[in-house]
């Protein structure tokens, strides 16, 4: 482990910035731990993909952005939403399928949108959102706006045609998009070595002459450092980059999937948990005298309180009204529907 480099990343950030990152990672962790419990209690339905273990990628990357920059995410995006600025209670209410949810209860865990905060959606077709992020990059260049776009996806998405089509266009047209591969080693239950001819995701950028970097995705400051460089390239020269953040999810692919089993061993998961990104940052910060155990526990208490408030808010919110069923399909809610369709409500 190149400790000197880690310290260098650490010292490049202020104590407040680091405390903010620790706080965000902890919020994400506690939020999702409780979301898992709410799922078990059937307060949350459908598919629910947890980011536990991978929080450093979302937190480090989004910390490199300005508030009005855009992000696109896959369906594992609760933490990304929280970090981009969405209120925890609006996220929890969405998971609960309530009208107060950030997508009015119509999106669910996989489709969190908060346009006011630049969260342009969680998207649930693997790799399908990569062209959309490229399109926002196109729009920024078209209108000469200064914002950049971060596009998060897993390592399994880089075998999708849309990834390659997007990188080609982004390089050809010089678009300000940072493509961030959250390489957690498994596309559901298939290890990267069993799905990709090339394991080194960052190498894929060569095909399109796109700048690339591989970073330890369990180290939030290293992620922040690498993504900051890519964001600067996008902002100053409107050029795309590919960042491969090597991380690990401590939970199953989704809530219906075991933590370990046919595709990975318990021992492997336990070993990876030694790289816990929250503990890693805490230890580095405490070695620099920036926080102590007591301070960490106080932070943890605050975060847990926020999560409990989010749950209470979600639980106390109403489900969407039946009239909401046909709203938001078209600009004019009833325009395109025939009389019979309407009467079937």
């Amino acid at each position: 482990m190149p400790n000197e480099q880690v310290t260098e990343h650490l010292t490049a950030l202020s104590k407040d910035q680091l405390l903010g990152m620790l706080d965000k990672m902890l919020l994400g962790r506690r939020f999702e731990e409780r979301a898992a419990e709410m799922y078990a209690m059937q307060k949350i339905g459908g598919f629910c993909h947890l980011d536990i273990g991978q929080e450093a990628v979302a937190v480090g990357a989004i910390a490199a952005l300005q508030p009005d920059d855009y992000i696109f995410c896959s369906y594992r995006e609760h933490v990304h939403a929280l970090v981009k600025g969405t209120e925890p209670r609006r996220v929890m209410a969405e998971l609960f399928g309530r009208e107060t949810g950030i997508s009015k209860g119509k999106g669910g865990s996989m489709h969190l949108f908060d346009v006011a905060h630049g969260l342009m959606g969680g998207h649930a077709i693997v790799g399908g959102h990569i062209p959309l992020a490229t399109g926002v990059g196109f729009a920024m260049k078209y209108e000469q706006r200064p914002q950049v776009v971060l596009c998060f996806f897993g390592e399994a998405a880089v075998n999708i045609g849309a990834f390659h089509e997007s990188l080609n266009m982004a390089a050809l047209w010089k678009l300000p998009v940072v493509y961030i591969c959250e390489n957690n080693r498994y596309g559901m239950g298939t290890a990267i070595e069993r799905a990709s001819a090339i394991y080194d995701v960052a190498q894929r950028a060569c095909a399109y002459d796109v700048a690339s970097e591989t970073v330890d995705g369990m180290d939030v400051t290293a992620v922040h450092d690498a993504v900051s460089r890519a964001v600067a390239l996008a902002r100053r020269e409107t050029l795309p980059s590919l960042i491969e953040a090597r991380c690990y999810r401590f939970m199953g692919h989704s809530m219906s999937d075991p933590v370990h089993g046919h595709y990975r061993t318990k021992q492997e998961v336990e070993e990876q948990k030694q790289r816990d990104p929250i503990r890693h940052l805490f230890e580095q910060m405490s070695s620099q005298g920036m926080i102590d155990q007591q301070g960490f526990e106080a932070m943890d208490q605050r975060v847990r309180q926020q999560v409990e408030e989010a749950i209470a808010f979600a639980d106390g919110s109403a489900p969407p009204a039946p009239e909401a069923l046909y709203e938001d399909v078209y600009a004019d809610p009833y325009g395109p529907y025939t009389r019979s369709e309407r009467s079937s409500e």
Partner: protein
């Protein structure tokens, strides 16, 4: 009024809307330097430059998704698909993307986007280049589907589609590009969702759109010689559908024939037959007849291709059947 081609009417619509709104841009394969595979975009790159008329790589999924993304942040893309046959490459971006963004986001984003290009069979292009796919797209909530039959409609509908705040699938007739019709000098719009009565009659209603309107009108002309008069209704948009125009006509004629270039199974004609039986059951004097493309991949051989396409003769036969004349 000027007599211009369907192709030039579309070109005028694109040009006028691009002049009107700087957020409108045209993107697709060969739309710029080459002036359009079917010359619909002729001269646009010269007028609007490479910033607003964008040639793409052959990458339908990619550039259609770029259009959806650009629309999410306020631009108004026109994405040209060289022919709708290639739209299957882009269908995830259209169906999972364009059609669903408004809903999944609880109304936070809109997709003011037109995806346009020619559809249907031309002449001996074989199975992969001869498909009428409007029923696929009309099936999807969140999309609108338009298919103009004349230069006048092509221009007015495309202008409305470009100004619409929902994604519009705009299917042009590949064999209609050279057809001519009168188009006024002054600006006009045709709203999406309003059918056009092309010919009035009392004995049967014939429903058609795009290229099939011509087939239906030829059949109506032949039938007129036998003292059978038909209402010929051009639906113009398949979603939204002008149910009022359809039902009020069928209530008068008590008989209906649907002419559709696409395949019969789960086709638009099936939807129309359902609408009519639900809303005008007591007015019907015969089951709704459907004249469709043959339920086969399009053959290459000229004689087989002809057999696979709806023809005026087949429409005449269908009208005579619903009138119990034979």
């Amino acid at each position: 009024m000027a007599l211009i081609t369907y192709r030039d009417a579309l070109n005028q619509a694109l040009r006028e809307e691009m002049r009107r709104d700087p957020r409108v841009f045209l993107m697709g394969e060969e739309v710029g330097v080459y002036q359009g595979a079917y010359k619909v975009s002729r001269g646009l790159m010269q007028e609007f430059g490479e910033r607003r008329v964008i040639d793409t790589p052959i990458t339908e999924e990619g550039f259609t998704g770029v259009g959806v993304g650009a629309a999410m942040v306020g631009l108004r893309p026109i994405i040209e698909i060289m022919t709708w046959n290639f739209s299957m490459e882009a269908i995830d971006q259209i169906v999972s993307g364009a059609a669903k963004m408004r809903y999944m986001s609880g109304g936070q984003v809109k997709i003011p986007m037109v995806i346009r290009g020619p559809g249907g069979a031309a002449h001996q292009l074989g199975a992969q280049h001869s498909q009428a796919l409007e029923s696929w797209y009309a099936h999807v909530p969140g999309l609108k589907v338009a298919a103009a039959s004349t230069p006048y409609d092509a221009k007015g509908l495309l202008k409305s589609a470009i100004r619409d705040d929902d994604p519009v699938i705009f299917i042009e007739g590949e064999t209609l590009y050279g057809s001519k019709g009168e188009v006024p000098e002054e600006e006009y719009l045709i709203p999406l969702g309003v059918a056009d009565v092309k010919r009035q009659g009392k004995d049967a209603t014939v429903l058609a759109w795009s290229k099939m309107v011509g087939v239906a009108l030829k059949a109506a002309e032949t039938l007129a010689g036998d003292n059978v008069s038909c209402d010929v209704i051009d639906l113009r948009t398949l979603r939204p559908l002008d149910a009022d125009a359809i039902i009020s006509s069928v209530r008068r004629t008590n008989r209906c024939v649907v002419v559709e270039e696409g395949w019969p199974y789960s086709g638009i004609g099936a939807e129309l037959a359902d609408l009519i039986q639900r809303e005008a059951f007591d007015d019907l004097d015969a089951p709704v007849e459907r004249v469709t493309g043959a339920d086969v991949p399009m053959p290459y051989a000229k004689n087989l291709e002809h057999l696979a396409m709806p023809s005026p003769d087949r429409v005449v036969e269908a009208v005579r059947r619903v009138m119990y004349l034979d």
